[in-house]
Protein backbone atom coordinates (compact mmCIF):
# COMPACT_ATOMS: atom_id res chain seq x y z
CA UNK A 1 0.00 0.00 0.00
CA UNK A 2 2.78 2.42 0.98
CA UNK A 3 4.72 1.43 -2.09
CA UNK A 4 1.70 2.12 -4.23
CA UNK A 5 1.33 5.60 -2.71
CA UNK A 6 5.03 6.20 -3.37
CA UNK A 7 4.67 5.10 -7.00
CA UNK A 8 1.71 7.42 -7.45
CA UNK A 9 3.82 10.19 -5.88
CA UNK A 10 6.54 9.55 -8.42
CA UNK A 11 4.03 9.51 -11.29
CA UNK A 12 2.61 12.86 -10.11
CA UNK A 13 6.10 14.39 -9.95
CA UNK A 14 6.91 13.23 -13.51
CA UNK A 15 3.51 14.44 -14.75
CA UNK A 16 3.93 17.89 -13.20
CA UNK A 17 7.52 18.17 -14.46
CA UNK A 18 6.48 17.43 -18.07
CA UNK A 19 3.62 19.90 -17.71
CA UNK A 20 5.92 22.60 -16.27
CA UNK A 21 8.45 22.12 -19.08
CA UNK A 22 5.68 22.30 -21.68
CA UNK A 23 4.32 25.50 -20.13
CA UNK A 24 7.80 27.05 -19.97
CA UNK A 25 8.52 26.21 -23.60
CA UNK A 26 5.16 27.28 -25.07
CA UNK A 27 4.65 30.42 -22.97
CA UNK A 28 0.97 30.70 -23.82
CA UNK A 29 -1.98 31.47 -21.55
CA UNK A 30 -3.66 28.36 -23.01
CA UNK A 31 -1.19 26.22 -21.03
CA UNK A 32 -0.74 27.71 -17.56
CA UNK A 33 2.12 26.24 -15.51
CA UNK A 34 1.07 23.63 -12.96
CA UNK A 35 1.87 25.86 -10.00
CA UNK A 36 -0.79 28.39 -11.05
CA UNK A 37 -3.36 25.60 -10.93
CA UNK A 38 -2.38 23.61 -7.85
CA UNK A 39 -1.38 26.58 -5.71
CA UNK A 40 -4.98 27.74 -5.61
CA UNK A 41 -6.96 25.21 -3.57
CA UNK A 42 -10.10 27.22 -4.31
CA UNK A 43 -9.67 26.36 -7.98
CA UNK A 44 -9.74 22.61 -7.38
CA UNK A 45 -11.80 22.24 -4.26
CA UNK A 46 -14.94 24.22 -4.69
CA UNK A 47 -18.59 23.41 -4.62
CA UNK A 48 -19.33 23.52 -8.38
CA UNK A 49 -16.27 21.34 -9.07
CA UNK A 50 -17.33 18.80 -6.46
CA UNK A 51 -20.80 18.81 -8.01
CA UNK A 52 -19.44 18.28 -11.54
CA UNK A 53 -17.14 15.54 -10.29
CA UNK A 54 -19.99 13.73 -8.55
CA UNK A 55 -22.26 13.99 -11.59
CA UNK A 56 -19.57 12.62 -13.92
CA UNK A 57 -18.71 9.81 -11.49
CA UNK A 58 -22.37 8.87 -11.19
CA UNK A 59 -22.84 8.83 -14.95
CA UNK A 60 -19.82 6.70 -15.72
CA UNK A 61 -20.31 4.21 -12.87
CA UNK A 62 -23.99 3.74 -13.73
CA UNK A 63 -23.09 3.30 -17.40
CA UNK A 64 -20.41 0.70 -16.62
CA UNK A 65 -22.83 -1.22 -14.42
CA UNK A 66 -25.62 -1.04 -16.99
CA UNK A 67 -23.36 -2.08 -19.88
CA UNK A 68 -22.06 -5.06 -17.92
CA UNK A 69 -25.41 -6.24 -16.64
CA UNK A 70 -26.74 -6.35 -20.20
CA UNK A 71 -23.67 -7.52 -22.12
CA UNK A 72 -22.22 -10.16 -19.81
CA UNK A 73 -25.13 -12.64 -19.78
CA UNK A 74 -25.85 -12.04 -23.46
CA UNK A 75 -22.22 -12.54 -24.52
CA UNK A 76 -21.85 -15.70 -22.44
CA UNK A 77 -25.02 -17.24 -23.87
CA UNK A 78 -24.08 -16.32 -27.45
CA UNK A 79 -20.59 -17.78 -26.97
CA UNK A 80 -21.99 -21.01 -25.55
CA UNK A 81 -24.76 -21.47 -28.13
CA UNK A 82 -23.33 -22.11 -31.61
CA UNK A 83 -26.76 -21.98 -33.27
CA UNK A 84 -27.31 -18.47 -31.85
CA UNK A 85 -23.71 -17.39 -32.47
CA UNK A 86 -24.03 -18.08 -36.19
CA UNK A 87 -26.55 -15.26 -36.48
CA UNK A 88 -25.34 -13.01 -33.66
CA UNK A 89 -21.65 -12.90 -34.62
CA UNK A 90 -22.09 -11.10 -37.98
CA UNK A 91 -24.40 -8.60 -36.29
CA UNK A 92 -21.83 -7.95 -33.56
CA UNK A 93 -18.96 -7.56 -36.02
CA UNK A 94 -21.07 -5.21 -38.12
CA UNK A 95 -21.99 -2.90 -35.23
CA UNK A 96 -18.89 -3.19 -33.00
CA UNK A 97 -16.59 -0.90 -35.04
CA UNK A 98 -19.15 1.93 -35.36
CA UNK A 99 -18.04 4.82 -33.13
CA UNK A 100 -20.92 4.90 -30.66
CA UNK A 101 -20.62 8.67 -30.19
CA UNK A 102 -22.60 9.07 -33.42
CA UNK A 103 -25.68 7.91 -31.52
CA UNK A 104 -25.52 10.87 -29.13
CA UNK A 105 -27.99 13.01 -31.14
CA UNK A 106 -30.45 10.10 -31.28
CA UNK A 107 -30.16 9.46 -27.55
CA UNK A 108 -30.61 13.18 -26.87
CA UNK A 109 -33.82 13.22 -28.92
CA UNK A 110 -35.11 10.06 -27.26
CA UNK A 111 -33.89 10.56 -23.70
CA UNK A 112 -33.47 14.28 -23.32
CA UNK A 113 -30.46 16.37 -22.37
CA UNK A 114 -30.10 15.05 -18.80
CA UNK A 115 -28.23 12.11 -17.35
CA UNK A 116 -30.08 9.38 -19.25
CA UNK A 117 -28.76 10.12 -22.74
CA UNK A 118 -25.16 10.34 -21.49
CA UNK A 119 -25.39 7.19 -19.40
CA UNK A 120 -26.93 5.21 -22.25
CA UNK A 121 -24.26 6.39 -24.69
CA UNK A 122 -21.41 5.29 -22.41
CA UNK A 123 -23.26 2.08 -21.55
CA UNK A 124 -23.43 1.26 -25.27
CA UNK A 125 -19.65 1.69 -25.56
CA UNK A 126 -19.07 -0.60 -22.56
CA UNK A 127 -21.75 -3.02 -23.77
CA UNK A 128 -19.93 -3.85 -26.99
CA UNK A 129 -16.52 -4.24 -25.34
CA UNK A 130 -17.94 -6.65 -22.77
CA UNK A 131 -20.17 -8.46 -25.26
CA UNK A 132 -17.24 -9.32 -27.52
CA UNK A 133 -15.03 -10.31 -24.58
CA UNK A 134 -17.69 -12.44 -22.89
CA UNK A 135 -18.53 -14.20 -26.14
CA UNK A 136 -14.89 -15.08 -26.76
CA UNK A 137 -14.43 -16.23 -23.16
CA UNK A 138 -17.50 -18.47 -23.30
CA UNK A 139 -16.30 -20.01 -26.56
CA UNK A 140 -12.88 -20.71 -25.05
CA UNK A 141 -14.17 -22.68 -22.05
CA UNK A 142 -12.76 -26.20 -22.52
CA UNK A 143 -15.42 -28.78 -23.36
CA UNK A 144 -13.92 -31.02 -20.67
CA UNK A 145 -14.64 -28.50 -17.92
CA UNK A 146 -18.30 -28.49 -18.84
CA UNK A 147 -18.45 -32.28 -19.25
CA UNK A 148 -16.78 -32.71 -15.89
CA UNK A 149 -19.43 -30.57 -14.19
CA UNK A 150 -22.26 -32.28 -16.06
CA UNK A 151 -20.94 -35.63 -14.89
CA UNK A 152 -21.38 -34.36 -11.32
CA UNK A 153 -25.02 -33.75 -12.12
CA UNK A 154 -24.88 -30.00 -12.83
CA UNK A 155 -27.72 -28.43 -14.78
CA UNK A 156 -27.39 -25.61 -17.29
CA UNK A 157 -27.70 -22.80 -14.74
CA UNK A 158 -25.10 -24.41 -12.48
CA UNK A 159 -22.68 -24.75 -15.41
CA UNK A 160 -23.02 -21.03 -16.16
CA UNK A 161 -22.58 -20.15 -12.50
CA UNK A 162 -19.63 -22.39 -11.68
CA UNK A 163 -17.74 -22.53 -14.99
CA UNK A 164 -18.69 -20.18 -17.78
CA UNK A 165 -19.22 -16.97 -15.79
CA UNK A 166 -16.04 -17.24 -13.68
CA UNK A 167 -14.04 -18.26 -16.76
CA UNK A 168 -14.97 -14.97 -18.39
CA UNK A 169 -14.08 -12.71 -15.45
CA UNK A 170 -10.34 -12.09 -16.00
CA UNK A 171 -11.01 -11.16 -19.64
CA UNK A 172 -13.92 -8.97 -18.64
CA UNK A 173 -11.74 -7.01 -16.21
CA UNK A 174 -9.10 -6.50 -18.89
CA UNK A 175 -11.78 -5.28 -21.29
CA UNK A 176 -13.15 -2.95 -18.61
CA UNK A 177 -9.74 -1.42 -18.00
CA UNK A 178 -9.35 -0.79 -21.71
CA UNK A 179 -12.85 0.61 -22.08
CA UNK A 180 -12.64 2.96 -19.06
CA UNK A 181 -10.33 5.18 -21.12
CA UNK A 182 -12.78 5.21 -24.03
CA UNK A 183 -15.67 5.72 -21.63
CA UNK A 184 -14.09 8.85 -20.14
CA UNK A 185 -13.43 10.26 -23.60
CA UNK A 186 -17.06 9.60 -24.56
CA UNK A 187 -18.24 11.08 -21.26
CA UNK A 188 -16.28 14.25 -22.00
CA UNK A 189 -17.81 14.55 -25.46
CA UNK A 190 -21.32 13.85 -24.22
CA UNK A 191 -20.97 16.44 -21.45
CA UNK A 192 -19.55 19.06 -23.78
CA UNK A 193 -22.73 19.23 -25.92
CA UNK A 194 -25.85 20.93 -24.60
CA UNK A 195 -24.97 20.13 -21.01
CA UNK A 196 -25.19 22.07 -17.76
CA UNK A 197 -23.03 19.96 -15.49
CA UNK A 198 -20.29 17.36 -15.35
CA UNK A 199 -16.53 17.71 -15.74
CA UNK A 200 -16.80 17.82 -19.53
CA UNK A 201 -19.10 20.79 -19.19
CA UNK A 202 -16.73 22.40 -16.67
CA UNK A 203 -13.79 22.08 -19.07
CA UNK A 204 -15.68 23.47 -22.05
CA UNK A 205 -17.23 26.24 -19.97
CA UNK A 206 -13.86 27.38 -18.59
CA UNK A 207 -12.39 27.15 -22.07
CA UNK A 208 -15.04 29.36 -23.63
CA UNK A 209 -14.49 31.86 -20.78
CA UNK A 210 -10.74 31.62 -21.48
CA UNK A 211 -10.23 30.78 -17.82
CA UNK A 212 -7.36 28.37 -18.45
CA UNK A 213 -6.36 27.68 -14.84
CA UNK A 214 -9.96 26.65 -14.14
CA UNK A 215 -10.01 24.51 -17.28
CA UNK A 216 -6.89 22.67 -16.16
CA UNK A 217 -8.31 22.21 -12.68
CA UNK A 218 -11.26 20.43 -14.30
CA UNK A 219 -8.90 18.35 -16.46
CA UNK A 220 -7.05 17.30 -13.30
CA UNK A 221 -10.37 16.31 -11.75
CA UNK A 222 -11.09 14.15 -14.82
CA UNK A 223 -7.69 12.48 -14.39
CA UNK A 224 -8.49 11.79 -10.73
CA UNK A 225 -11.81 10.28 -11.82
CA UNK A 226 -9.90 7.92 -14.12
CA UNK A 227 -7.47 6.90 -11.37
CA UNK A 228 -10.40 6.19 -9.03
CA UNK A 229 -12.05 3.96 -11.63
CA UNK A 230 -8.86 2.05 -12.44
CA UNK A 231 -8.08 1.45 -8.78
CA UNK A 232 -11.67 0.38 -8.08
CA UNK A 233 -11.43 -2.12 -10.94
CA UNK A 234 -8.14 -3.38 -9.56
CA UNK A 235 -9.74 -3.96 -6.15
CA UNK A 236 -12.82 -5.57 -7.68
CA UNK A 237 -10.67 -7.92 -9.76
CA UNK A 238 -8.61 -8.98 -6.75
CA UNK A 239 -11.79 -9.72 -4.90
CA UNK A 240 -13.55 -11.48 -7.79
CA UNK A 241 -10.61 -13.43 -9.27
CA UNK A 242 -8.47 -14.58 -6.33
CA UNK A 243 -7.20 -17.58 -8.30
CA UNK A 244 -5.27 -15.42 -10.77
CA UNK A 245 -3.05 -13.90 -8.08
Amino acid sequence: MLRKVARYGLAIVVFLAVWAIGAAVLRTPALPDPWTVISQPALLFNKPMAGDFAVSLYRIVTAIALGNVLALPLGLVIGQTPSLDRYAAPLIFLTYPIPKIVFLPIFMVLLGLGDASKIVLIAVVIFFQILVTARDAARAVPEQSIMSLRSLGAGRAQIYRHVIFPASLPGVFTALRISVGTAIAVLFLAESFASQNGLGYAIINAWSGMNYPRMFAAILALAVLGVLLYEALELAERWACPWTR
Partner: protein, 254 residues
Protein backbone atom coordinates in the same frame (compact mmCIF):
# COMPACT_ATOMS: atom_id res chain seq x y z
CA UNK B 1 -21.54 -52.62 -7.82
CA UNK B 2 -22.60 -52.04 -11.37
CA UNK B 3 -22.75 -54.48 -14.25
CA UNK B 4 -22.17 -52.80 -17.59
CA UNK B 5 -23.22 -54.24 -20.92
CA UNK B 6 -22.49 -52.43 -24.16
CA UNK B 7 -23.97 -53.68 -27.43
CA UNK B 8 -22.97 -52.50 -30.89
CA UNK B 9 -22.09 -48.97 -29.74
CA UNK B 10 -21.74 -46.49 -32.59
CA UNK B 11 -20.93 -42.79 -32.41
CA UNK B 12 -20.74 -40.41 -35.34
CA UNK B 13 -19.84 -36.76 -35.12
CA UNK B 14 -21.06 -34.18 -37.56
CA UNK B 15 -18.19 -32.03 -38.73
CA UNK B 16 -19.18 -29.44 -41.30
CA UNK B 17 -22.04 -31.57 -42.59
CA UNK B 18 -19.98 -34.77 -42.91
CA UNK B 19 -20.53 -37.64 -40.52
CA UNK B 20 -17.26 -38.79 -38.92
CA UNK B 21 -17.39 -42.14 -37.17
CA UNK B 22 -15.65 -42.20 -33.79
CA UNK B 23 -16.81 -45.57 -32.45
CA UNK B 24 -17.77 -48.40 -34.80
CA UNK B 25 -19.78 -51.20 -33.26
CA UNK B 26 -18.22 -51.77 -29.85
CA UNK B 27 -19.67 -54.65 -27.80
CA UNK B 28 -18.25 -55.57 -24.41
CA UNK B 29 -19.25 -55.97 -20.81
CA UNK B 30 -17.90 -55.47 -17.31
CA UNK B 31 -18.83 -57.64 -14.36
CA UNK B 32 -19.58 -55.97 -11.04
CA UNK B 33 -16.33 -54.87 -9.39
CA UNK B 34 -14.24 -55.44 -12.50
CA UNK B 35 -11.55 -53.03 -13.68
CA UNK B 36 -11.53 -52.70 -17.46
CA UNK B 37 -8.50 -50.97 -18.93
CA UNK B 38 -9.09 -49.40 -22.35
CA UNK B 39 -6.03 -48.81 -24.46
CA UNK B 40 -5.64 -47.60 -28.02
CA UNK B 41 -3.79 -45.17 -30.28
CA UNK B 42 -4.24 -41.51 -29.39
CA UNK B 43 -7.24 -39.95 -31.06
CA UNK B 44 -8.91 -43.35 -31.32
CA UNK B 45 -12.13 -42.29 -29.61
CA UNK B 46 -11.29 -43.46 -26.10
CA UNK B 47 -12.59 -40.23 -24.59
CA UNK B 48 -15.74 -40.52 -26.68
CA UNK B 49 -16.29 -43.93 -25.11
CA UNK B 50 -15.94 -42.42 -21.63
CA UNK B 51 -18.47 -39.68 -22.46
CA UNK B 52 -20.92 -42.35 -23.70
CA UNK B 53 -20.50 -44.55 -20.62
CA UNK B 54 -21.03 -41.46 -18.44
CA UNK B 55 -24.29 -40.65 -20.22
CA UNK B 56 -22.83 -37.32 -21.36
CA UNK B 57 -22.98 -38.18 -25.06
CA UNK B 58 -25.94 -40.02 -26.58
CA UNK B 59 -24.66 -42.72 -28.95
CA UNK B 60 -25.69 -42.68 -32.61
CA UNK B 61 -26.48 -46.38 -32.41
CA UNK B 62 -26.36 -49.32 -30.02
CA UNK B 63 -27.13 -49.54 -26.35
CA UNK B 64 -25.44 -49.19 -22.99
CA UNK B 65 -27.08 -51.05 -20.15
CA UNK B 66 -26.09 -50.60 -16.54
CA UNK B 67 -27.55 -53.21 -14.19
CA UNK B 68 -30.02 -54.07 -16.93
CA UNK B 69 -31.22 -50.47 -17.21
CA UNK B 70 -30.70 -48.68 -20.49
CA UNK B 71 -28.49 -45.59 -20.01
CA UNK B 72 -30.04 -42.42 -21.40
CA UNK B 73 -28.56 -39.68 -19.23
CA UNK B 74 -26.05 -38.83 -16.52
CA UNK B 75 -26.63 -41.03 -13.50
CA UNK B 76 -25.68 -40.07 -9.96
CA UNK B 77 -23.99 -43.39 -9.26
CA UNK B 78 -21.36 -42.86 -11.97
CA UNK B 79 -18.23 -40.84 -11.17
CA UNK B 80 -16.02 -39.46 -13.93
CA UNK B 81 -12.41 -38.32 -13.67
CA UNK B 82 -11.10 -36.49 -16.70
CA UNK B 83 -7.44 -36.03 -17.48
CA UNK B 84 -6.64 -32.32 -17.26
CA UNK B 85 -9.78 -30.33 -16.85
CA UNK B 86 -11.50 -32.12 -14.03
CA UNK B 87 -10.78 -29.41 -11.49
CA UNK B 88 -12.13 -25.90 -11.64
CA UNK B 89 -9.26 -23.37 -11.55
CA UNK B 90 -11.23 -20.72 -9.62
CA UNK B 91 -12.25 -22.99 -6.80
CA UNK B 92 -10.00 -23.94 -3.92
CA UNK B 93 -9.06 -27.53 -3.25
CA UNK B 94 -11.80 -27.77 -0.63
CA UNK B 95 -14.44 -26.18 -2.89
CA UNK B 96 -13.47 -28.49 -5.75
CA UNK B 97 -13.68 -31.57 -3.56
CA UNK B 98 -17.07 -30.44 -2.23
CA UNK B 99 -18.50 -29.50 -5.62
CA UNK B 100 -20.36 -32.73 -6.34
CA UNK B 101 -22.15 -32.62 -2.99
CA UNK B 102 -22.87 -28.93 -3.39
CA UNK B 103 -24.39 -29.39 -6.86
CA UNK B 104 -26.61 -32.05 -5.36
CA UNK B 105 -27.85 -29.59 -2.77
CA UNK B 106 -26.66 -31.53 0.26
CA UNK B 107 -26.89 -29.61 3.55
CA UNK B 108 -23.83 -27.42 4.20
CA UNK B 109 -22.97 -29.15 7.48
CA UNK B 110 -22.83 -32.55 5.84
CA UNK B 111 -20.74 -31.22 2.95
CA UNK B 112 -18.22 -29.67 5.34
CA UNK B 113 -17.90 -32.81 7.44
CA UNK B 114 -17.64 -35.20 4.47
CA UNK B 115 -15.15 -32.97 2.68
CA UNK B 116 -12.94 -32.60 5.72
CA UNK B 117 -12.66 -36.33 6.28
CA UNK B 118 -12.02 -36.99 2.60
CA UNK B 119 -9.37 -34.25 2.31
CA UNK B 120 -7.66 -35.58 5.43
CA UNK B 121 -7.62 -39.14 4.14
CA UNK B 122 -6.12 -38.02 0.81
CA UNK B 123 -3.46 -35.90 2.53
CA UNK B 124 -4.93 -32.71 1.13
CA UNK B 125 -6.07 -30.98 4.31
CA UNK B 126 -3.03 -28.70 4.47
CA UNK B 127 -3.59 -27.43 0.93
CA UNK B 128 -7.37 -27.08 1.21
CA UNK B 129 -7.25 -23.30 0.69
CA UNK B 130 -4.92 -23.51 -2.33
CA UNK B 131 -6.08 -23.20 -5.91
CA UNK B 132 -5.39 -26.07 -8.34
CA UNK B 133 -2.60 -24.10 -10.04
CA UNK B 134 -0.78 -23.85 -6.70
CA UNK B 135 -0.52 -27.60 -6.01
CA UNK B 136 1.35 -30.46 -7.69
CA UNK B 137 -0.05 -32.66 -10.44
CA UNK B 138 -0.30 -35.59 -8.08
CA UNK B 139 -2.22 -33.51 -5.54
CA UNK B 140 -4.56 -32.26 -8.25
CA UNK B 141 -5.37 -35.80 -9.30
CA UNK B 142 -6.00 -36.70 -5.62
CA UNK B 143 -8.51 -33.86 -5.43
CA UNK B 144 -10.22 -35.19 -8.54
CA UNK B 145 -10.40 -38.67 -7.02
CA UNK B 146 -11.67 -37.27 -3.71
CA UNK B 147 -14.40 -35.36 -5.52
CA UNK B 148 -15.42 -38.37 -7.59
CA UNK B 149 -15.62 -40.62 -4.55
CA UNK B 150 -17.54 -38.05 -2.48
CA UNK B 151 -20.71 -39.10 -4.27
CA UNK B 152 -20.34 -42.79 -3.30
CA UNK B 153 -20.33 -44.04 -6.88
CA UNK B 154 -20.74 -47.65 -7.93
CA UNK B 155 -19.20 -47.08 -11.37
CA UNK B 156 -15.97 -45.15 -11.90
CA UNK B 157 -14.82 -43.85 -15.28
CA UNK B 158 -11.31 -42.48 -15.60
CA UNK B 159 -9.93 -40.86 -18.75
CA UNK B 160 -6.13 -41.00 -18.63
CA UNK B 161 -6.11 -40.03 -14.97
CA UNK B 162 -2.42 -40.54 -14.31
CA UNK B 163 -0.83 -39.84 -17.69
CA UNK B 164 0.45 -36.34 -16.98
CA UNK B 165 2.26 -37.40 -13.80
CA UNK B 166 5.89 -38.38 -13.29
CA UNK B 167 6.62 -42.09 -12.93
CA UNK B 168 6.84 -42.28 -9.13
CA UNK B 169 3.75 -40.13 -8.52
CA UNK B 170 1.91 -42.23 -11.08
CA UNK B 171 2.78 -45.46 -9.29
CA UNK B 172 1.79 -44.07 -5.92
CA UNK B 173 -1.56 -42.88 -7.29
CA UNK B 174 -2.15 -46.21 -8.98
CA UNK B 175 -1.75 -47.72 -5.52
CA UNK B 176 -4.12 -45.14 -4.02
CA UNK B 177 -6.66 -46.18 -6.63
CA UNK B 178 -6.09 -49.89 -5.91
CA UNK B 179 -6.57 -49.33 -2.17
CA UNK B 180 -9.89 -47.64 -2.87
CA UNK B 181 -10.88 -50.39 -5.27
CA UNK B 182 -10.00 -53.10 -2.72
CA UNK B 183 -12.22 -51.33 -0.20
CA UNK B 184 -15.20 -50.47 -2.43
CA UNK B 185 -14.90 -52.84 -5.40
CA UNK B 186 -16.08 -50.18 -7.82
CA UNK B 187 -16.70 -51.29 -11.36
CA UNK B 188 -14.08 -49.22 -13.18
CA UNK B 189 -13.25 -48.22 -16.72
CA UNK B 190 -9.75 -46.84 -17.02
CA UNK B 191 -8.73 -45.27 -20.30
CA UNK B 192 -4.98 -45.08 -20.71
CA UNK B 193 -2.31 -44.94 -23.36
CA UNK B 194 0.24 -46.56 -21.07
CA UNK B 195 0.79 -50.27 -21.71
CA UNK B 196 2.25 -50.80 -18.22
CA UNK B 197 -0.68 -49.07 -16.55
CA UNK B 198 -3.22 -51.16 -18.45
CA UNK B 199 -1.31 -54.36 -17.64
CA UNK B 200 -0.95 -53.49 -13.96
CA UNK B 201 -4.50 -52.34 -13.25
CA UNK B 202 -6.93 -54.00 -15.65
CA UNK B 203 -8.70 -57.31 -15.00
CA UNK B 204 -9.60 -57.02 -18.64
CA UNK B 205 -7.67 -55.02 -21.18
CA UNK B 206 -9.58 -53.82 -24.20
CA UNK B 207 -7.46 -52.81 -27.19
CA UNK B 208 -9.05 -50.32 -29.56
CA UNK B 209 -8.10 -49.64 -33.18
CA UNK B 210 -7.46 -46.29 -34.82
CA UNK B 211 -10.51 -44.13 -35.50
CA UNK B 212 -13.23 -45.23 -36.03
CA UNK B 213 -12.53 -47.37 -32.99
CA UNK B 214 -13.25 -51.09 -33.12
CA UNK B 215 -12.27 -53.63 -30.49
CA UNK B 216 -9.16 -55.48 -31.67
CA UNK B 217 -8.73 -57.68 -28.66
CA UNK B 218 -9.88 -58.18 -25.08
CA UNK B 219 -7.14 -59.68 -22.94
CA UNK B 220 -7.83 -61.30 -19.55
CA UNK B 221 -5.34 -60.30 -16.91
CA UNK B 222 -6.12 -62.18 -13.69
CA UNK B 223 -2.98 -61.16 -11.77
CA UNK B 224 -3.62 -57.43 -11.98
CA UNK B 225 -2.98 -55.21 -9.01
CA UNK B 226 -0.46 -57.50 -7.39
CA UNK B 227 2.72 -55.57 -6.59
CA UNK B 228 4.87 -58.67 -7.28
CA UNK B 229 3.17 -59.03 -10.68
CA UNK B 230 4.72 -55.73 -11.79
CA UNK B 231 8.20 -57.32 -11.81
CA UNK B 232 7.25 -60.82 -12.99
CA UNK B 233 7.84 -62.40 -16.41
CA UNK B 234 4.07 -62.74 -16.94
CA UNK B 235 3.71 -58.96 -16.62
CA UNK B 236 6.25 -58.49 -19.38
CA UNK B 237 4.38 -61.05 -21.47
CA UNK B 238 1.11 -59.16 -21.10
CA UNK B 239 2.90 -55.93 -21.96
CA UNK B 240 4.52 -57.33 -25.08
CA UNK B 241 1.21 -58.80 -26.20
CA UNK B 242 -0.41 -55.40 -25.78
CA UNK B 243 2.44 -53.72 -27.60
CA UNK B 244 1.97 -56.08 -30.51
CA UNK B 245 -1.77 -55.50 -30.62
CA UNK B 246 -1.25 -51.73 -30.54
CA UNK B 247 1.35 -51.87 -33.27
CA UNK B 248 -1.18 -53.72 -35.39
CA UNK B 249 -3.77 -51.08 -34.51
CA UNK B 250 -1.63 -48.36 -36.08
CA UNK B 251 -0.35 -50.40 -39.03
CA UNK B 252 -3.93 -51.32 -40.02
CA UNK B 253 -4.37 -47.77 -41.18
CA UNK B 254 -0.84 -46.95 -42.34
Amino acid sequence: MDRVKVTDLNVEYLTGGDAMAALAGLSFSAEPGEIVAVIGPSGSGKSTLVYCLAGLLPPTGGTIEINGQRLTRVRPETAVILQDYGLIPWKTVAANAALGLKLRGEPAGRIAADTESSLRSFGLWDVRRHYPAQISGGQRQRVAIARALSLNPSLLLMDEPFSSLDALTRESLQNVFLDIWRRDHLTTFLVTHSIEEAAFLGHKIMVLSERPARILEIIDNPRQGDETFRSSPEFLQVCSRLRQALRQASSDVA
